[in-house]
């Protein structure tokens, strides 16, 4: 489907900034006053408990914005004193990197990358990631299709199957 520049812009704003629900409605749902709700939100943000208002967008539906996601298993040689933290930090500062996790098991770091194209991801892995001093090896898995992401099921037929009026 084809979206206008404006629509895509709005999606991007939503994805990065806010959920759609008005503060007034949050207030009612939580049985608080609007002022209280606002202070609470501010406070939570200040404490960095509320890190971000996120929207989940199925970009695969938007022409020209499909993007590519890859999960990369990274083996690293931990450094004395700083362990894995230093190399993790060097990795997570790249803007292509969506998530970095320290893992138990067959490899050390799980890195999730989003790029505009396969090429872009490939370049990131070969030029940035695998050239880091302590990185011993990388295994890149491209995501072919997202079925469920962060608790949201994509492509689900969620129509209300109930009859309109019932006892």
């Amino acid at each position: 489907m084809k979206l206008t520049e404006k629509q895509i812009e709005v999606l991007e704003i939503l994805e990065n900034n806010s959920a759609r629900i008005p503060v007034e409605d949050i207030a009612k749902m939580a049985q608080l006053s609007v002022a209280e709700t606002e202070t609470t939100l501010d406070k939570l943000e200040e404490m960095k408990v509320l890190v971000r208002f996120n929207s989940v967008i199925d970009w695969s539906k938007v022409d020209g914005h499909e993007g590519v996601t890859a999960m990369i298993d990274v083996k690293v040689a931990p450094k004395r004193g700083v362990g894995f933290d230093e190399v993790a930090q060097r990795i997570y500062r790249f803007k292509e990197v969506r998530s970095v996790y320290l893992m138990s098991g067959a490899y050390d770091l799980s890195v999730i990358i989003e790029g505009r194209s396969m090429n872009e991801v490939a370049r990131f892995v070969s030029e940035k990631l695998s050239t880091l001093d302590s990185v011993l090896s990388t295994t890149t898995h491209f995501i072919l299709k997202k079925y469920k992401h962060d608790g949201t099921i994509f492509e689900q037929n969620e129509d209300d199957k109930r009859i309109v009026v019932s006892p």
């Binding site: 749902m29 939580a30 049985q31 209300d160 009859i163 309109v164 009026v165 019932s166």
Partner: protein, 391 residues
């Protein structure tokens, strides 16, 4: 041959069709309707439960179960009643698994009523009580509650309705359509009356899982009440399992066994697949119920406050998923309000008078609908109320 109609039983002929039916017909075929008219969860049955039913089919459990239900399920129900509500029932002799709470109501009334026995029905009430009492040969005696009392029955009202023919009081808390939940103290007062007049109480506890503010008290858990309580419950509402048709009765042995007689002749047993689903629901579904309940509570808070802001005054319902606002500020009757709202704004609600005369001046709105739709419904109702200020 006589006219076909003249073959019908007098009782059935005189039975009024449910008023809900008319609104269903009116709304059917309309596009873009937001339905606040449904008496069921908007959640789909938790996947673990659906999956257990599928597994039971794969394994070939497609035959009848014991008449009273799978023993394993009855044991699980007994455990659940004990842990959640503090009442113990024997899975062997005091629990019967039924085809929904609906069938449980039917066979309860048929097991205890003789022709002419009076049954007290607290109004506004679930649409089935009065017709089921009539079908069982009893005489319904409707007691009207008032919105000033939050639609709670007062002990003196109850006492005034009792005659020498009264056999049973039907209670439903949390209530459909008002959402009203009675506290332990209020149930205690009713218990005293039941004791004084030696009455049975049929306690419809189908919404017990959906109590938002206060701890739920089962009528059977009060004092000596277990021996005079027929407790009806099921999986439809709390576990989002309306289509599975599964409910149960807990009652003293003599009553359970009498019901079982009717159940075994009329129904054989509840559907096997649904029984396996229910077993799983009790074993692993409680956290899903908690999640759904949280969500209903937030929607209730939002919806009821929004109605009040629109001048459709509404008490805060303690349970179930219904709001029962007064629509008197619009100058319309509840039927007019519901019909106009549906035709003009495409929001379906149910007129309060369908639940008994005391429901007039109110409409039942189910908030078991997504927040997005509730927000849109409030917008439409707000527009409607502005168009219909009291003459």
């Amino acid at each position: 041959m006589k006219e076909t109609k003249s073959y019908l039983s007098k009782t059935v002929e005189e039975l009024k069709p449910s008023g809900i039916r008319r609104f269903f017909d009116l709304a059917a075929g309309m596009e873009g309707v937001i339905s606040l008219g449904v008496g069921e969860p908007d959640f789909i049955t938790p996947w673990s439960v659906r999956e257990a039913a599928i597994l039971s089919l794969e394994q070939g459990y497609t035959s009848y179960t014991a008449n009273a239900g799978l023993m394993e399920l009855r044991e699980e129900i007994a455990d659940y009643m004990q842990k959640s509500f503090g009442v113990s029932y024997s899975p062997q002799s005091e629990i019967v698994v039924t085809v929904g709470a609906s069938q449980a109501l039917d066979i309860s009334l048929r097991a205890i009523l003789d022709s002419g026995d009076e049954v007290i029905v607290v109004e506004p009430s679930f649409v089935s009580y009065v017709p089921l009492v009539t079908l069982a040969g009893g005489v319904p005696v409707q007691v009207q509650t008032l919105k000033e009392n939050g639609f709670k029955i007062l002990p003196e009202q109850l006492e005034n309705a009792i005659t020498s023919r009264t056999k049973v009081i039907i209670l439903c808390s949390p209530n459909n359509p008002t959402g009203t939940m009675l506290s332990g103290d209020e149930l205690n007062a009713i218990a005293k009356i039941a004791e004084r007049y030696d009455l049975l109480v049929l306690s419809d506890e189908i919404y017990a899982e959906l109590a938002y503010d206060d701890e739920y008290t089962s009528f059977a858990a009060i004092g000596e009440m277990k021996k005079r309580t027929i407790l009806i419950s099921g999986f439809s509402k709390g576990f989002a399992m309306t289509g599975w048709r599964l409910g149960f009765i807990c009652a003293p042995e003599e009553i359970s066994q009498a019901m079982l007689k009717i159940h075994q002749y009329a129904m054989m047993c509840a559907p096997t697949m649904a029984q396996f689903a229910a077993l799983e629901a009790l074993k692993t579904g409680r956290s899903d119920v908690e999640d759904m309940k949280k969500s209903y509570k937030r929607r209730r808070n939002y919806f009821v406050q929004s109605l009040n802001e629109l001048g459709l005054t509404c008490h805060m319902p303690g349970g179930a998923f219904y709001a029962f606002p007064s629509i008197e500020s619009t100058g319309l009757t509840s039927e007019e309000f519901a019909e106009k709202l549906l035709l003009e704004e495409k929001v379906a609600v149910v007129p309060g008078n369908i639940f008994g005369e005391s429901g007039e001046g109110h409409v039942r709105c189910s908030y078991a609908t997504s927040m997005e739709l509730l927000q849109e419904a409030i917008k439409r109702i707000s527009h409607f109320v502005k168009q219909n200020p009291k003459a």
